[in-house]
């Protein structure tokens, strides 16, 4: 006995000796866990603050208050009020003249060019359409707030390093001087950038907007939903309620699992080879994009719908069959309506993923530069994530903030879709 007790006390000693080290390693292990969570959290914080920091300024745009004299001598010298003549009048000169009113000393060719470049080159088009809409304006003086050129806007937002040599930056010393002068006169103000939400793409940052891409994405998601939801739900119903246990069913299951994990770019290759080259569908069209995304979303919807069907208790099925309903009647009249909210929730989450997807769209030509806002799913169009990609590649400094703004718009819609899904789930989920 004494032998064993001395033995056990020596064991206790060994254990006690090791305890400190073991507790230390326990603490370290726990620390690793906390560190990894903090790492992910820190990334998210840096990520969002970087995007918001770069993007928030795109929601405002520097504008200049000028008064433009609509000189009849320039617009309509012969007083014909002929629309063709008025359309081709030299509106650039009108804009230039009114800018020159601020700085009468401007004379050299270089200075004139620099002065003209203060405001967006879309200004003259805007005046043209104003005049064409209301010809009685001719001869009057128009007080307008016009967009500054993007480079000037970037300077105002502090994104241009003016300590650099003049040749190294996109804005000249004269422009810096003039802009500062106009600013101290209180003629320049930052206004809400409504163009961002009402225009299509453009080569000029100050005239570019995401509306075209938004509508393109909307058409695509619509087609994705119309195609993928019924098919996915039908496939799920078959697999969950009707499929016999055989080789064919197993094969379908293997295919679905693989489809869910195929890289998205491969779907783009499929779209290019099948929809565009084989069926001759138009390039860059939301129709093709929607079909490709539908194929991608199909397995996601099947998996979500099967989970929803599984959550309907068997007592419902048993009761319906018990009172004499056929198998199809049971499924469609009783099980399906109860599973529908769950199916919708899963589908919306799948569609949100499709909204953010861009790799397959690059393959089917949705990277084209499209200015017009699409009116049908067959028109050439951009998509929101692809617009982000295109703007991220654009060299102008003004597109950096617009890219971030487009990302914020994209994230906003993802947030809306996911919250809708969560709301649906909470509202209709039945706890059996």
């Amino acid at each position: 006995m004494s032998n064993s007790s001395s033995n056990s006390s020596s064991i206790t000693e060994i254990v006690n000796k090791g305890l400190k080290k073991r507790y230390r390693s326990e603490f370290m292990f726990r620390l690793y866990g906390i560190t990894s969570i903090l790492f992910a959290a820190a990334f998210l914080i840096v990520f969002f603050s970087s995007i918001i920091d770069k993007g928030y300024s795109a929601f405002t745009q520097g504008e200049l208050n000028i008064s433009i004299y609509l000189d009849p001598e320039i617009i309509d010298p012969d007083n014909t009020r002929d629309e063709e003549e008025i359309r081709y009048a030299n509106y650039d000169k009108l804009v230039f003249d009114s800018l020159k009113n601020f700085f009468p000393s401007v004379s050299s060719r270089k200075e004139r060019k620099e002065l003209k470049a203060l405001v967006s080159n879309g200004t003259s088009l805007r005046i043209q359409s104003l005049v064409l809409d209301d010809m009685s304006l001719i001869g009057k003086t128009l007080d307008l707030s016009v967009k500054l050129d993007s480079d000037i806007d970037m300077f105002l937002k502090g994104n241009v390093d003016i300590t650099l040599d003049e040749s190294q930056r996109r804005i000249s010393d004269n422009q810096v001087k003039w802009t500062n002068e106009l600013k101290t006169k209180g003629l320049i103000s930052q206004k809400f950038n409504s163009t961002l939400f009402s225009a299509g793409d453009s080569r000029e940052p100050e005239q570019a907007g995401v509306l075209g891409a938004l509508i393109g994405s909307f058409f695509m998601l619509l087609i994705t939903f119309i195609v993928a939801f019924p098919l996915g739900v039908a496939a799920a119903i078959y697999l969950e309620e009707f499929a016999p246990k055989n080789k064919f069913t197993d094969f379908v299951e293997v295919n679905i699992n693989n489809l869910a994990a195929v890289p998205s770019i491969i779907y783009g290759l499929l779209g290019l080879a099948v929809f565009i080259n084989f069926f001759g569908m138009p390039r860059s069209a939301p129709l093709v994009g929607g079909l490709v995304l539908a194929l991608m979303t199909f397995p996601v919807i099947i998996i979500a719908s099967r989970a929803a069907l599984q959550s309907v208790p068997p007592s419902i099925t048993d009761a319906a069959l018990g009172v004499g309903a056929s198998k199809i009647q049971t499924v469609f009249d009783h099980v399906f309506p109860l599973a529908l909210p769950g199916m919708l929730t899963g589908s919306i989450i799948g569609m949100a993923r499709a909204l953010g997807e861009s790799a397959p769209l690059l393959m089917i030509g949705m990277v084209a530069f499209v200015v017009d806002i699409p009116s049908t799913p067959l028109d050439a169009s951009a998509a929101l994530p692809v617009q982000v990609y295109l703007w991220a590649d654009a060299p102008e400094r003004g597109f950096v903030e617009r890219t971030s703004a487009a990302i914020l718009v994209l994230l906003f819609f993802l947030l809306v879709m996911n919250s809708t899904a969560i709301w649906l789930r909470n509202k209709f989920e039945i706890k059996w």
Partner: protein, 458 residues
């Protein structure tokens, strides 16, 4: 008749056939025994109306373009008809543009306008034939169905057998989609391997897909050795896994074994946000924020880091994969039976010892499966690398160099103008095939391992 109006007419007629079928059944019910509920007779009539109409419309959508084009070609002057196929295609495109009322650069031959008009008139004729024949055929078959409706007709059984067939077809689409992907990539890839030998592609050390148009052109060797791409893909995936696996695994372990419910309530949505961010946004972050930061940081240490370094891309991709690794590991760790934990505690092990010596070994197959899935995700990831990785194929395993990947090359080869018979375009499909096969194998094994592992403890 415009297409949308035609669809509207079809829908109205369809609703009408449902209504008439149902009301005939209701009338029969007054003084007879009817087999099914009246609505099934409505569906029955509807199916009979819609099937021929829809078949004709879908045939039209598939074939009308080809038929009309052939008609136009046969009406073209002989000297045009005998042009090589690709020139003829260009002319046909011009004709179609002209027919659609678009501006065309120039009229390439006499009779061009006429051809455009022919095209329009043939399309018009084809359209009219389809519209009226589909409506007439649909109505005829509806009338047959209407006449055949009687109390003895087992409408419900007929409808139900149709519905179950539709369900079966929907489920089979998964097979068609896989086959479609495989075939579309395979066909083009085979054409590629007829030009470039398979060995040169798989074992070649130089990737320079620019084809020489003239013999004396510099830098246009048309070499398709894919090893640099595989190496680059492997390097970036490896970096991303080195980030994602430890962080994801430790997150999962902490969440399932240690975390109080408050921490879980914050962390789970955080991971969901991380996995919900579109990859194009990650790519933008990698290219605009992280890559310059790493380059500048390297400069202060006196190192020369490329601004498109594999390191930056891999880091961001790793962060993107964290949620995948952690949710898969979370699943397998919580599947380890509680009894195993309690046994370990009973022997006096601490929590971390239990995790390290009991839970992780028990969950290892599942974790490995999850890592394989994550690897397949990293290999196939496109947008991050397209935006932040390099374009030139360099044979390098230095994480500070700019390397390119398979997906980047697919995108650069296929975006923009392309002709479908040049090896340059076809190479993209060969790369696509490689990518598809590799990810397929990884996914297949990963899913099998995970499933086997689950069965073990169920």
């Amino acid at each position: 008749m415009s297409f949308s109006f035609f669809l509207l007419v079809l829908i109205i007629l369809g609703l009408g056939s449902y209504y008439f079928g149902k009301s005939k059944a209701l009338a029969l019910k007054q003084n007879d025994v009817v087999h099914s509920l009246p609505k099934y007779y409505g569906y029955y009539a509807l199916v009979w109306f819609a099937t021929p109409a829809l078949i004709i419309v879908s045939l039209w959508l598939i074939f009308s373009e080809g038929i009309v084009t052939n008609q136009v070609i046969s009406s073209l002057p002989d000297n045009i008809k005998t042009l090589p196929t690709n020139e003829l295609t260009l002319i046909l495109n011009d004709i179609k543009n002209k027919a659609a009322g678009n501006l065309v650069a120039g009229e390439s031959f006499i009779g061009f306008e006429l051809a455009a008009e022919t095209y329009n008139s043939y399309s018009k004729i084809a359209e009219n034939i389809i519209i009226y024949s589909s409506i007439v055929l649909g109505l005829i078959s509806f009338i047959f169905a209407y006449i055949s409706i009687s109390g003895k007709l087992r409408a419900r059984n007929r409808i139900e057998s149709i519905v179950s067939k539709i369900l079966l077809v929907s489920a089979s689409i998964a097979i068609f989609a896989t086959a479609g992907i495989l075939l579309s990539v395979l066909f083009e890839a085979i054409r590629f391997f007829q030009i470039i030998s398979f060995d040169d592609f798989i074992f070649g050390l130089t990737w320079s897909p620019q084809m020489a148009i003239r013999d004396d052109q510099v830098g246009s060797s048309g070499l398709f050795g894919a090893i640099p791409l595989f190496l680059g893909t492997g390097l970036i995936s490896l970096i991303s896994l080195t980030v994602a696996v430890p962080v994801g695994l430790m997150t999962a372990i902490y969440l399932s074994e240690y975390a109080p419910s408050r921490v879980r309530a914050v962390t789970k949505p955080m991971l969901e946000v991380l996995s919900g961010i579109p990859t194009v946004v990650y790519g933008f972050f990698a290219a605009i924020t992280l890559a310059p930061f790493i380059r500048d940081f390297g400069e202060t240490l006196g190192m020369n880091i490329a601004s498109e370094s594999a390191l930056g891309v891999g880091l961001v991709m790793g962060i993107m994969i964290i949620p995948l690794v952690s949710s898969l590991s979370d699943d397998v760790i919580s599947a380890v039976p509680q009894a195993m934990r309690e046994g370990s505690y009973g022997l006096g092990a601490t929590k971390s010892e239990t995790i390290k010596r009991v839970i992780i070994p028990a969950a290892l197959p599942g974790i490995v499966g999850g890592i394989l899935l994550a690897a397949s995700r990293a290999i196939g990831e496109t947008m991050i690398v397209v935006m932040a990785a390099g374009l030139s194929a360099r044979l390098s395993i230095n994480p500070l160099d700019a390397v390119t990947t398979v997906t980047v090359q697919i995108v650069t080869l296929l975006v923009g103008d392309q002709e479908f018979d040049s090896p340059k375009t076809l190479a993209a499909f060969a790369l696509g095939l490689t990518l598809f096969v590799v990810t397929l194998i990884l996914n297949f094994y990963a899913l099998r391992i995970v499933r086997k592992y689950r069965e073990q403890y169920e």
